[in-house]
Amino acid sequence: MSKVIVVTSGKGGVGKTTSSAAFSAGLAARGHKTAVIDFDVGLRNLDLIMGVERRVIYDFVNVINGEATLKQALIKDKRVDNLYILPASQTRDKDALNKEGVESIINELKADGFEYIVCDSPAGIEKGAFMALYFADEAIVVTNPEVSSVRDSDRILGILQSRSKIAEDGGSVKEHLLITRYSPDRVEGGDMLGMDDIVEILSIPLIGVIPESGTVLQASNSGNPVIMDKESTAGQAYEDVVSRFLGEDIPLRFVDVEIKKKGFFQKIFG
């Protein structure tokens, strides 16, 4: 049985592509044949985050238009077995994606034995975002602990519940909340929404919390999914997300303030 998972958020810049790259690389590293598709037509970036930008020959839209086969367009990752990337097109044609074309590609991937098909959604609620979520069985909603991101996530949840194929057929998409760029220090200080508050507001189950970390930028600089950095807290937090997605019940990490040793005067004077 294959599963289609959309990584979405509504708001831009919250970490959809970073999360798609890490999540799909994590699934593949555990032996699951995984494809990750960039739905951001016109502004592709998944190829860059995954470090395969120089290997793009054909793209998503070429396959839909019959200009290339799916096999020709899929880029096989050289670091992780079982991982394949389908880049978006750089065309400015807004109608490049259509339901029939997307469905045929997803069906072909399923027939090819792909267990997980991860759809990296563009920001917004336009056609690309709609196409990315339409065929989804499950959704990872990426949210920053910040008001506009939480509000946009709620909008996307509404669209998932009403306009996805599963919803049209009377079912419901399984939703997961992924909080990224979390700073326990700032939550403790009362400057940042806490994860419990976000879960309460959006009322969907939490699949993970990724701490704010410099290694995320380093990973994208070098074109390696951050999950491959086993030392970094963000990488480890993504590993936990993959474990939970696969059904393991493991506690959250990196969500509490690290206890730092304070000097004598610091203790007294704060």
Binding site: V150, D154, G190, L193, I201, Q266, F269, G270
Partner: protein
């Protein structure tokens, strides 16, 4: 906790709580708003109806009124067409 923090805390505003309250009100509002809003297809339905009716009688755009009303366990789609008295 330091000695001075005890006094400092009082003054410092917890903006995260403010964010939570604002979001809860806003999102509750937006969710109910959406369920009460008329469906997206109403304007198009109205235009197409006017077109069909025009094949037989002359009506202007403003003579056709389509509305959807929500009752407890059913919805009513109300279509109101005003025909003019004028004989063509």
């Amino acid at each position: 906790m330091g000695l001075f923090n005890f006094f400092k805390k009082e003054k410092k505003k917890n903006t995260a709580n403010l964010a939570k309250e604002r979001l809860q009100i806003l999102i509750a509002h937006e969710r109910t708003d959406k369920s009460q809003r008329s469906p997206d297809y109403l304007p198009k339905l109205r235009d197409e109806l006017v077109e069909v009716i025009r094949k037989y009688v002359h009506v202007s755009d403003k003579d056709v009124n389509v509305s959807l009303e929500k009752c407890d366990d059913f919805d009513t789609l109300e279509l109101n067409i005003t025909l003019s008295d004028k004989v063509d």
